[in-house]
């Protein structure tokens, strides 16, 4: 069961030995000042200073997308959607902290690959199919490649990366490709 998995993980994984609920408790009561200040600065009238009773405050996507770190990023909408609880881009403090943890320098490669995969997966079907790749390409090249060129690039990507030959990229294919691109850790990174 999930519960036993958690216990198993705690003891056997060799991860941070303190129970994860301690981490949750600390963070919900004392969110680290700098990130919390940035969150609060987006909407000071909505965000209370005291988070001990875990208020349900959600900042709309427009505010998140206007942050200087995100406003020019072609994937800002997808990033907000992936990390938000409701899937629409409206983020609670928890989501905000999650987002910047994953995009920080210290996140492990697997975690970054998992979230990068979700960001590029536009239709949320756990696979990067051709339409997902086409949308990614269009976001990255300002719609200036011709239809043929777009199609050829996407085919080339799938050819090179699809290990199990099902015509679309699963998370494992994506991770395998990431392993061979050592720059990924430093490019999938937002400084705050």
């Amino acid at each position: 069961s999930l519960k036993s998995l958690i216990i198993l993980f705690d003891i056997e994984s060799g991860y941070y030995p303190v129970c994860t609920s301690d981490i949750l408790q600390v963070q919900l009561s004392f969110p680290p000042p700098r990130l919390f200040d940035r969150y609060r600065d987006l909407a000071p009238q909505l965000v209370p200073l005291d988070y001990t009773d875990q208020p349900d405050v959600r900042l709309p996507y427009e505010l998140i997308g206007s942050m200087p770190e995100l406003k020019d990023n072609p994937f800002r909408q997808r990033i907000a959607e992936v990390f938000s609880e409701d899937g629409e881009g409206n983020m609670t403090l928890d989501d905000f902290l999650d987002m910047f943890s994953v995009l920080s320098e210290m996140a492990p490669r697997d975690l970054k690959a998992y979230y990068a995969f979700k960001i590029y997966d536009f239709n949320n079907d756990d696979f990067l199919c051709k339409s997902d790749l086409e949308k990614t390409l269009n976001k990255l090249t300002r719609n200036e490649l011709t239809e043929d060129e777009v199609r050829m690039v996407c085919e080339k990507v799938i050819d090179e990366a699809d290990l199990d030959n099902d015509g679309r990229l699963s998370l494992e294919d994506f991770q395998h490709m990431i392993v061979r691109a050592p720059d990924f850790l430093s490019t999938f990174h937002i400084r705050i």
């Binding site: 958690i6 981490i23 020019d72 990507v157 199990d164 720059d183 400084r191």
Partner: protein, 600 residues
């Protein structure tokens, strides 16, 4: 994994925690919990303070945002080298200079020598009698009138030795971890997939930079699409021609490097002691270091490497050969001729290094002016086709490595040289940042920044640090120190100070174990032979393990293709799904851990 699952797991974890809590209701657990929470809060506040004090954080963020991670790696490298020098300064100043200043507060400067302005450039004159150089330190065991003893010889030797050992350890550790993380599994031919999915730099925050990157990516994708498959075998004549051209350019570049080294050596036949003339040598050396690499980059037009990365590697190797051969010739001259000719030769060598450092700094400024400012002016106003220059990360990093090599060689001869180096790097950071933002554009090709980083650290370790260490080791082990100045005057070699100390310790019964270690471990050859043998055996074993694992990877890859080409049946589907759930849990755990990491 959906957010509901995430929330579900979090709820479970909290329930587990309250379950655990309800079992231990005693006071002790409560107290320890409060204490540990208080500690963690304190730790978080301290991290916040440390981050606000962190050097140049805002500037690096700005540079990374506009120019990307490739250019940012230069500034990170500069900051890392600055830390080495700050540490060196603290160690030398604390253990060598301060005791000297306590016991001899005023330097004995002979009559008739006063401070003129020229000393800042030449390092000679007034400075040569101060604690700046080796000659300014006394050899007496300090301690008069009731103050405790301080053996200056041992302090000098052990400070330099400890600093070199720590530097070496730090370099080996960085090199190994960088190699493991960034180099090992890198593939050279991913092409389209890599460019599309992994190379977008999320840290770029400037609108203009983003637009430029999009353009570059588009151009690169178009290029990779229109590449024709190259004929694997060119006709024999073409291949011979290519190899002939390679041989010619390599011979020419190596010949130029050795020729420059020889000319530097023959320059020494001129008089050395007049103050203004002493600047001639560093001037020539820095001029060679500035001009000859420009020749090397001209070779690019003639050679045709199959892989553009090989081009960059070729340029790096040639520059390293040039710089290291010049430094090698200089060291050879200092060890052979200067050591036998002059009376206070260590100070003379220290002064020569000081001049080299200062002149190198002036020439880097000049190089920045010509390389970046003038190129920008020419590219935008005069010859429009050239365009705005790019920031050449490789050349600038090699300049930094050269500067740091000089500092490492100088650690024995001039204990306060790190001060000059710190000032130099500080000014260089701001200079390069201004030059970059005013004159350069972001790089057009998404370069392999991570792999280049590993190579730069490797170059910093192998020719640079190892060379400096071997020179200092040779000086300490073999060369007789000068008779009239410095902490080791009167001894046969610098290392004899340790021998004398060991003889002193031998007379005291309590320290016999130290003497035993010295005689049977440090001075015996058998020990080093055995250690080398054991290390070689381990290397062989690990290599076999690595090769076995590579074979396993190939087999597993084949298995994936085989398994997925057969249809997914019911049980396999379930396995797949439970794998997804399991991996989802793993990711939530990693996320929680990652969060705690960025806050601690």
């Amino acid at each position: 994994m959906s957010f509901d699952d995430k929330k579900h797991i979090r709820g479970q974890v909290l329930a587990l925690k309250s379950f655990k809590k309800s079992r231990h209701l005693n006071c002790f657990a409560d107290c320890s919990k409060t204490v540990s929470l208080a500690f963690r809060r304190c730790g978080a506040n301290m991290t916040l303070a440390k981050q606000t004090l962190e050097l140049w954080r805002g500037t690096m963020k700005e540079v990374g945002g506009k120019f990307g991670t490739g250019v940012l790696s230069y500034f990170k490298f500069l900051k890392w080298l600055l830390m080495f020098n700050i540490f060196s300064f603290l160690v030398n100043f604390g253990f060598i200079t301060i005791p000297q200043l306590i016991y001899h507060p005023t330097p004995d400067i002979p009559a008739g020598v006063s401070f003129k302005g020229l000393e800042i450039l030449t390092g000679a004159g007034y400075f040569s009698h101060t604690v700046m150089y080796y000659g300014g330190y006394s050899n007496k065991t300090q301690g008069t009138g009731g103050r405790s003893e301080y053996n200056m010889q041992l302090a000098y030797f052990f400070t330099v030795a400890a600093y070199m050992v720590l530097c070496g350890a730090a370099l080996i550790y960085s090199m190994a971890s960088s190699f493991r993380k960034k180099y090992v599994l890198a593939d050279s031919g991913l092409g389209g997939a890599w460019q599309l999915l992994c190379s977008w730099d999320f840290s770029v925050t400037n609108e203009k930079a983003v637009r430029q990157r999009k353009n570059n990516l588009r151009i690169q994708l178009k290029e990779s699409l229109s590449e024709k498959v190259q004929v694997a075998l060119l006709p024999l004549t073409e291949r011979l021609k290519h190899y002939g051209v390679f041989l010619g350019t390599w011979l020419l570049s190596t010949g130029m490097a050795l020729g420059c080294g020889a000319s530097v050596y023959f320059l020494f036949s001129g008089s050395l002691l007049e103050e203004a003339a002493t600047l001639l040598l560093p001037f020539v050396v820095s001029l060679i270091n500035l001009v000859v690499p420009l020749f090397y980059s001209l070779f690019k037009k003639i050679e045709h490497y199959s892989n553009p990365r090989m081009q960059v590697y070729a340029i790096i190797v040639r520059n390293v050969i040039l710089k290291m051969s010049i430094l090698g010739i200089l060291c050879y001259y200092w060890m052979k001729d200067v050591a036998n000719t002059f009376s206070c030769w260590e100070s003379i060598v220290g002064q020569a290094l000081y001049r080299l450092v200062i002149m190198d700094f002036l020439f880097i400024m000049l190089g920045s002016f010509f390389g970046e400012f003038l190129s920008n002016v020419i590219g935008t106003k005069c010859i429009q086709s050239l365009g705005v220059p790019e920031f050449d990360v490789a050349r600038n990093v090699l300049d930094l490595i050269y500067a740091q090599t000089l500092a490492w060689i100088g650690i024995y001869f001039s204990p306060l040289l790190p001060v000059i180096q710190i000032i130099k790097f500080f000014i260089l950071f701001y200079l390069k940042k201004v030059s970059l933002t005013q004159n350069c554009q972001p790089p057009r090709r998404a370069g392999r920044a991570a792999q280049m980083q590993t190579i730069f650290i490797a170059i910093l370790f192998f020719p640079s640090f190892v060379g400096a260490l071997s020179m200092v080791a040779y000086t300490v082990w073999t060369l007789p120190p000068s008779d009239k100045c410095g902490p080791f005057r009167g001894l046969n070699t610098t290392f004899s100070a340790i021998q004398i100390w060991m003889d002193d310790l031998n007379r005291v019964d309590a320290f016999q174990w130290t003497v035993w270690i010295y005689q049977h471990v440090i001075r015996s050859e058998i020990f080093y032979f055995l250690v080398s043998l054991i290390i070689l055996v381990f290397i062989y074993i690990f290599r076999q393990i690595t090769q076995g694992r590579q074979l396993l990877i190939i087999l597993l890859r084949q298995q994936i293709v085989n398994v997925s080409s057969s249809e997914l049946s019911g049980p396999t589907c379930l396995v797949h799904q439970s794998c997804c759930v399991r991996s989802g849990c793993v990711y939530v755990m990693m996320l929680l851990k990652c969060r705690s990491n960025i806050f601690s």
